[in-house]
Symmetry: C2
């Protein structure tokens, strides 16, 4: 294998290389973006977020609704919390979770559109 396309005999290519290198985000940002999408990339977490689109809800009700164990839901809520996608408030023994911001819905809509095409 040779791989000597870039910048060997081709000025146009050089320009593209420079432009691309400018445009690719820093390692740190790339990592954060990937992390965020990883969080979206699990159907349990997606289901949780769909539930929270409708209403804030406590852990055990989410578990009941999705037919999963309290522990599984709690673990996943932690992941969503760390990604700052959900927030929570405590009321006595119960902890209510809700969505943290509005980008979530937009991201979902675009994803759905892509899939439906």
């Amino acid at each position: 294998m040779k791989n000597e396309h870039i910048c060997e005999n081709c000025e146009v290519h050089k320009e593209i290389v420079n432009r691309v290198t400018d445009v690719i985000p820093d390692e740190e940002i790339l990592y954060d973006v990937a992390e965020l999408f990883k969080v979206f990339g699990d159907s349990t977490r997606i289901r949780i977020m769909f539930v929270l689109f409708e209403s804030e809800m406590c852990v055990c009700d989410i578990a009941e609704l999705l037919n999963m164990t309290q522990s599984a839901i709690s673990h996943q809520l932690r992941v969503l919390k760390q990604a700052r996608l959900v927030k929570y408030r405590r009321d006595g023994k119960t902890v209510y979770y809700s969505l943290a911001d509005s980008h979530v819905k937009t991201i979902f809509c675009q994803a759905m559109e892509h899939i439906m095409e």
Copy 2:
């Protein structure tokens, strides 16, 4: 543990349950959405997509640009291809990849906004 919040003594809750059950997408769609986000959830694939935002490009140049092996890039391009996120055309020995549609950019923008906040 008891978990008998839902539908025990609470009419309001029943309504929410019904609404949520209506709104959660089918298993199949949930699965597809999760799959799509999984594809986005890797920094190598994200880098590839950022490169392709700028210009169509052949496999070995992407590899060179991102400082990775041809094999690694080729494997990842396959994943992107299966998710219908990139398309390709062959020109002699060389295969040029480019982005398949416009949702990709929107999804990225929203994700970046979320992260930057």
